[in-house]
Symmetry: C2
């Protein structure tokens, strides 16, 4: 990144929460990177995500939070002020790797990385206490479709999220053409408060959160009615819809005969989604901020934590409008489709399409989903993975219990985070605060993944996997049967601080004979994968980003129940951590004693 | 306190949460003081305080929390572990002065005080973060009826409270006789969660919390039904009541012809209560942990934060049971009476009394309430106040607005606490973090307390009153009209770290001519006073306890809206503060920089 680049125009960077655009003046290097500043005040606000009033966690009075938009190579500074009353808060910048590198293909020389800005409570930083302000500062390392969200307790599910879009650096171009773009941030919504959801999950009388009441598109849904009610035998009444209703969906206005880039990101807490647009094909061009080899589909699966860009061409009958629908897949849906309209201008936005919305594929049609996943391959010319791995860790995903409490575990360890962030514990060598034994690298060979665990008891643990810097690591995520017979769930796993290559998917237990199935030629780079029921997914990544990084199921309730692991990649040698990132817990206590200012 | 007293029996100290009774062996001094330890795990639990299931903040799975019981002079150690998910927590030990003195009449020699153990977030300590444990350690300085509760956000209202009872030291006797005792911890309960209550209060579209749905006695009430339904024209249906119902009130079992001490403490968030027992007189003997000149009443007013002991004699017809009722006073009540039974053994506990429950006095019969307040005088032989004050501060209580937000203010300053606790800011001289100007000592002489404020705008402030150590301070609390015409509310004000003498009450604006009304002969010592609508209340105290202490309206919503002030009494020179009490915010940041361990 250029330290002293020349000024550039404000352009599209003006936003409600964008306070200052600091432009450093000096010699240019690369695409004129700048420093873009935002002020985020996190507080609860009254909202009505699905038309029913509900308390929602917002930013600057908005839900979803303001969209962050800047160019690759820019530095973003976000001053987050916690205006909650008793809760801490952090914000994770989803898909941003926290490396000070612009489109780098080899991160091994990156020393000025910013793992302390990853926004994961108990891992990368202390939660920001009520009344405090914490400044995140990081480089947008590559263009793409990202988002941000809370990463403490289940605050992501409470509404703490927004879009983060990184444009290509000045002078560079996306490898595809489009006339304009539309942004779709997808989520799911419950009427039960997140506090109650958490308590139910953590109680000895376990209470599952259930299916969401509504699916939201850009924070909007409609409960207890359907825009498409009169097309079908739906028991839902038609929604009021004349345009302009506070609760109406955000309409997607398009001009006929143009190409649009739809940026689609899923921040669901639980739901895996399938998205389709009536009469329109989707050309998939980007996944998780990485270009893919373009391919055409009628509908797109998107798991929690993932993002895509698809191109659509508005070449259909311009006198009609068209549905955009999202529906639940991978779990028996009890939530109505989320709907909005692709409004061909100059048609009225309130004109409903002539046919019903696209039908979401059967929820358990996993072949449909696997077929989609297998079509995602790296764009031509992308970096290929190293041919060999230095270490392979196999992670068995199981549902378990501890003293009657329901948990998820990985190789029979259910993750419990320490109250002092790992990054600080590594940095200051405060190793007594977390489990010193690393969790297992594998699971017993005789474990039958097709059956419920013979012994459902598991243990809680805070141990970490220590990965050597700059080594190549394979992880095989192995799915299994849950506690109940004949149940195996979908899990979307997300890795912090790195992209990984998805080498392949398979059925049953991964074994030597599956080795040949791994794609080392053109596997896609991503940050969130999916494991299908009773299957495995193999990934490879280079541990080239110093820090302490979570790798976890992106289903909010599953992470809360322990479904994650921690990778320490030479966290000891991370430089330039702002003191305020670690000013809590054992680090603060130790420092006060060392500074001898408390008991003079 | 004896440093090395001999062992003594465990006696009544055994309790669910009482983990260890450390008995130090050595030379005795005074009443064989010991160290009593408790482990408190704070977490949300499913409860049903008024028979409707609701999430409630509990301790060790219980609501209300376990009763703490020990003897005057004992040291109590309470290890509080925060098992909440994203919220900090503290616990305030209500009425405990945090002085290391047993029944001292002159605290001026107290240097080993423990203001850091007062359990007030942002004032005496950092909130305990999720997963962390903090150990409170303090001496029970005098016998009495106390309680404990959360003092962060509105957690007290969420259910974080329990009883704290201090018996006289071994070898000493209470100055009155009783055969046995009964404990009544009173509170009020809302169905709307405390999070939602807080958001409504803090919103620019102000939403008042409304009247409580239920009144609770020892954490139990009955919603939407009345035990006494069939006595009256009540629209409520009768409650199920055969004895043994989970939701039935806790029955007070008594033997005929005995004397019982009723310990009554009010932890209401809002309601001022009136308590009566059918057919029985109440002999008031203790107020806020101080003996009073005994007097007999038919019913007793108790404001939020106060406690009393009353003696009753079970000399009524032993074939009947009798009602104990609590009802709302001082605000137009919309909450049914709270009821339980005084069960004369061996009668069945489910036998209802022959007559309806006592009628709560008309809510706005302030003469009744003032008459009660005026009867409270110090027990003979009690310490009298100094004849002269060194400083008199007059505090005008007004309802105001800031940028459209509804607030309460004191001398036109609405209190906003800093995120780093004051005690640490004084100790470490970090004065840039709070307002350096002290708030005003008085209000403009032309202010008309009978009218709404002419200019309702107020300012937020975090300044403190600096009281010189060992000086005598008078505070005149002056009530006024709220924002709405002809409305002036009751406010119970509570002082931390000290008892004060209540010198008197008066109508209208306090002036020179009221001076003669002040009682310097036998004013009662208390820690919580009441100001009546359009009236004033005068108190005097000796600022002999080093620390930073809150003085605030004990109505949870009013404090949340800024109704309080801060007294700094030589906080700079407090000794022996455990580092973990202050390991947050500016103190932690400063220490980390000083210790130079973050950026080696």
């Amino acid at each position: 990144m250029a330290k002293n680049p020349p000024a550039r125009g404000l352009g599209a960077l003006i936003a409600h929460s964008l306070i200052i655009l600091s432009v450093l003046v000096g010699a240019a290097l690369g695409g004129n990177p700048v420093v873009v500043q935002y002020d985020f005040n996190v507080e609860y606000v009254y909202g009505a995500p699905d038309c029913l009033e509900h308390v929602v966690m917002g930013i600057n009075g908005q839900f979803p939070g303001p969209t962050i938009r800047a160019k690759a190579g820019d530095t973003v500074k976000i001053r987050v002020t916690n205006k909650l009353h008793t809760e801490g808060v952090v914000i994770h910048w989803r898909g941003i790797r926290q490396v000070n590198s612009h489109n780098s293909e080899n991160l091994s020389h990156v020393t000025l990385n910013t793992p302390w800005a990853d926004g994961t409570a108990s891992i990368s930083q202390c939660a920001i206490n009520p009344g405090e302000t914490f400044t995140y500062r990081f480089v947008l390392d590559k263009p793409g479709t990202y988002f941000y969200h809370g990463h403490y307790g289940m605050q992501r599910s409470a509404g703490l999220y927004g879009s983060l879009i990184v444009d290509v650096a000045d002078g560079l171009k996306e490898p595809f053409h489009y006339d304009d773009e539309l942004n779709l941030l997808l989520s799911d919504w419950w009427h039960k408060s997140v506090h109650e959801q958490q308590i139910g999950l953590s109680s000895s009388q376990f209470r599952w959160i259930g299916e969401p009441q509504s699916l939201l598109i850009n924070g909007r849904g409609q409960y207890n009615c359907s825009l498409a009610a009169h097309y079908s035998q739906s028991s839902l009444k038609p929604c009021n819809f004349n345009g302009g209703e506070k609760c109406a969906p955000q309409i997607l206005h398009v001009q006929p005969n143009k190409t649009y880039r739809l940026r689609i990101a899923s921040n669901t807490a639980l739901a895996s989604l399938n998205l389709a647009i009536g009469n329109h094909k989707l050309l998939v061009v980007e996944a998780d901020g990485n270009y893919v080899d373009p391919f055409v589909v009628d509908d797109l699966d998107i798991y929690s934590g993932q993002s895509y860009s698809v191109l659509i061409t508005t070449d259909q009958d311009p006198s009609n409008n068209y549905w955009l629908s999202i529906g639940v897949t991978g779990r028996k849906p009890e939530t109505p489709q989320g709907l909005t309209l692709l409004n061909y201008l100059p048609n009225s936005a309130s004109k409903l399409p002539i046919s019903p919305p696209p039908v979401t594929p059967q929820w358990d049609d996993y072949n449909h989903s696997k077929s989609f996943s297998n079509r995602i391959l790296a764009a031509k010319g992308s970096q290929t993975p190293p041919r060999f791995y230095d270490r392979r860790i196999i992670l068995l995903n199981t549902q378990n219990t501890i003293d009657g409490y329901r948990k998820w575990a990985v190789n029979n360890v259910s993750l419990v985070l320490p109250s002092t962030p790992y990054l600080g514990l590594m940095k200051h060598e405060l190793h007594h605060v977390y489990d010193q034994n690393s969790p297992p690298e594998n699971f017993p060979t005789n474990y039958d993944i097709m059956k419920p665990p013979v012994n459902p008891n598991t243990t809680a643990g805070s141990g970490v996997y220590r990965l050597h810097f700059n080594t190549t690591v394979d992880v095989i995520l192995q799915n299994a049967n849950a506690l109940e017979e004949k149940v195996s769930k979908i899990h979307p796993w997300h890795l912090h601080g790195h992209d990984f290559w998805v080498l392949g998917y398979g059925e049953g237990k991964f074994s030597q004979k599956d080795e040949w199935k791994l794609n080392l030629r053109n596997p896609p780079l991503r940050n969130t994968l999916v494991i299908f029921p009773y299957g495995w997914t193999a990934i490879r990544f280079i541990a080239d980003n110093r820090g302490v990084w979570a790798f976890h199921c992106h289903i909010e309730a599953h992470l809360h129940m322990g479904m994650g692991v921690i990778f320490d990649i030479d966290g000891r040698n991370v430089k330039n951590i702002p003191p305020e990132a670690l000013a809590c817990g054992e680090i603060a206590r130790t420092s006060i004693k060392k500074a001898k200012i408390s008991n003079p």
